[in-house]
């Protein structure tokens, strides 16, 4: 076995250039997913009629199928839908002009929404009921109590889970290479097949992903210290 160590360094630099796209494919779905998650959580906690079972099905279906399926279904299905609408409404718009990246972001946002809603729900349910009662007793409206009292604490409780989902999505973003996105894994594939050095290229990619994961774990540990400051006494 021969491993070309200098090539690993070269590949490292080459692959690293694809980092911005990986960050986009990781962060955008998480941010949109967070908003979807809040909506779904409100529906599920308030038990909104009609939407409740739909929200349950959404969460269960997306959590029960691989992310690859979501990407492929949106990537294959959405253009058909657009084209059909274009024909009925006589748009001059063509689905082929939509970049594939947009489909990936849409699909992963839906995936993230399902996972986020579970995390947010667990966080909100973990906040002591007395906190809400105390907030209402000093005259806050339900919305104020949620926004100022319950939500910040729920986020603090969910922080480790949020870090996990960030790492999870950092890794999930690698699937985007299947629909020919040039993020870290896609770039690795190109570097590997251009130089016919597959093992070295994938070692380089593994090192980058590993480094990113360790950095995000360290950042979370720091954040956790700051966010849970309220919890470390002081009053009593």
């Amino acid at each position: 076995m021969q491993i070309d160590i200098p090539f690993i360094f070269m590949a490292l630099i080459e692959i690293f250039k694809a980092l911005p796209l990986t960050i986009i494919i990781t962060l955008v779905p998480l941010i949109i997913g967070f908003l979807i998650g809040i909506g779904i959580t409100i529906i599920r906690i308030r038990k909104v009629k009609g939407l409740y079972s739909l929200a349950n099905f959404y969460v269960s279906f997306l959590r029960g199928t691989p992310a690859l399926m979501h990407i492929m279904l949106i990537y294959l299905g959405f253009p058909l839908l657009i084209d059909k609408l274009a024909v009925t409404f006589r748009w001059t718009f063509q689905s082929t002009s939509i970049p594939i990246l947009l489909f990936v972001l849409m699909a992963l946002s839906l995936t993230a929404g399902a996972y986020m809603s579970e995390i947010i729900r667990a966080g909100i349910l973990a906040v002591d009921q007395g906190q809400l009662e105390a907030a209402e007793s000093i005259g806050m409206t339900n919305f104020q109590a949620m926004r100022r009292i319950v939500f910040p604490q729920a986020i603090a409780i969910s922080l480790p889970n949020l870090c996990n989902i960030f790492i999870g999505f950092l890794h999930t973003s690698s699937i985007a290479f299947i629909v020919s996105q040039k993020e870290l894994t896609g770039a690795t594939n190109i570097v590997a097949s251009n130089n016919l050095k597959f093992l070295e290229a994938y070692i380089a990619a593994a090192l980058i992903y590993w480094g990113l994961t360790i950095i995000s774990e360290k950042v979370t540990a720091l954040l956790e210290k700051r966010v849970t400051v309220y919890n470390r006494g002081g009053v009593i």
């Binding site: 029960g64 199928t65 992310a67 690859l68 294959l76 299905g77 790492i167 894994t185 593994a206």
Partner: protein, 230 residues
């Protein structure tokens, strides 16, 4: 898009379900062995090995399964040529089983370690106080309780691995997704095929969830019985 095609594709794809399940079962079996060994190394803090185990878990947690799959697929045959074994023509299924096994091993190790540490210390002291030795204490008192704590996480991890197996086709394994891709090449009905695949995955995940939650209830039948007697 032709919804009725789903009924055509369904039998064709589900006949490859056993490959997907085979990967899962092999991965879980390999993962359990690795997981128990690594967890023991981490709990008893075996010098040197503890450090290696830490790096192994960190690496497996820190890299996408897709990258691990390619690393094993390209790296293992290269490693084996050192001992003069030609693995370049081995069934890709083997590489998939090893990769998912290693990946399961890392998550199982953390789950087992967490569960054993999660059993109250007083339980071990109580076992010692009635004259059990360390092995008896472990096997009869700690492990059964650790199992109850570990089970929900274990179940989640298995379901996660099932979903990860959908990536095995990238190195040419003929599982459900691999078969689906060959069907796409001949029939050009990609959307219907992915819809069918999603339905099969969803069905299997629901069955697994139901099975796990039944077993969990069975495992927990002794929980809380002490407080009921009070």
């Amino acid at each position: 898009m032709d919804i009725t095609l789903i009924f055509d594709f369904f039998p064709k794809l589900i006949s490859y379900l056993h490959i997907t399940l085979l990967i899962l079962v092999a991965a879980v079996a390999i993962g359990l062995v690795i997981g128990v060994v690594i967890a023991l190394i981490r709990i008893y803090k075996v010098p040197v090995l503890n450090r290696l185990a830490f790096i192994y878990i960190s690496f497996m947690r820190g890299t996408p399964i897709l990258i691990q799959l390619f690393l094993i697929y390209f790296g293992l045959p290269a490693l084996l040529t050192l001992v003069h074994i030609d693995a370049s023509r081995a069934n890709p299924l083997l590489f998939v089983a090893i990769t998912y096994g290693l990946s399961c091993g890392a998550s199982f190790a953390e789950i087992i370690r967490g569960a054993i540490n999660g059993v109250e210390k007083g339980q071990a002291e109580a076992a010692y106080s009635i004259g059990m030795n360390e092995k008896q204490m472990m096997v009869r008192v700690i492990l059964p309780q650790a199992l109850v704590i570990a089970f929900p996480n274990f179940a989640n991890s298995v379901i996660g691995s099932l979903k990860d197996t959908s990536l095995a086709f990238t190195i040419g394994v003929m599982d459900m997704v691999g078969r689906g891709n060959t069907l796409i090449a001949t029939s050009l009905h990609a959307l219907e095929i992915y819809l069918t695949l999603s339905m099969i995955y969803y069905g299997v995940v629901i069955c697994l969830e139901k099975g796990f939650s039944l077993s969990e209830k069975k495992l927990q039948r002794f929980e809380g019985s002490l407080s009921a007697e009070k």
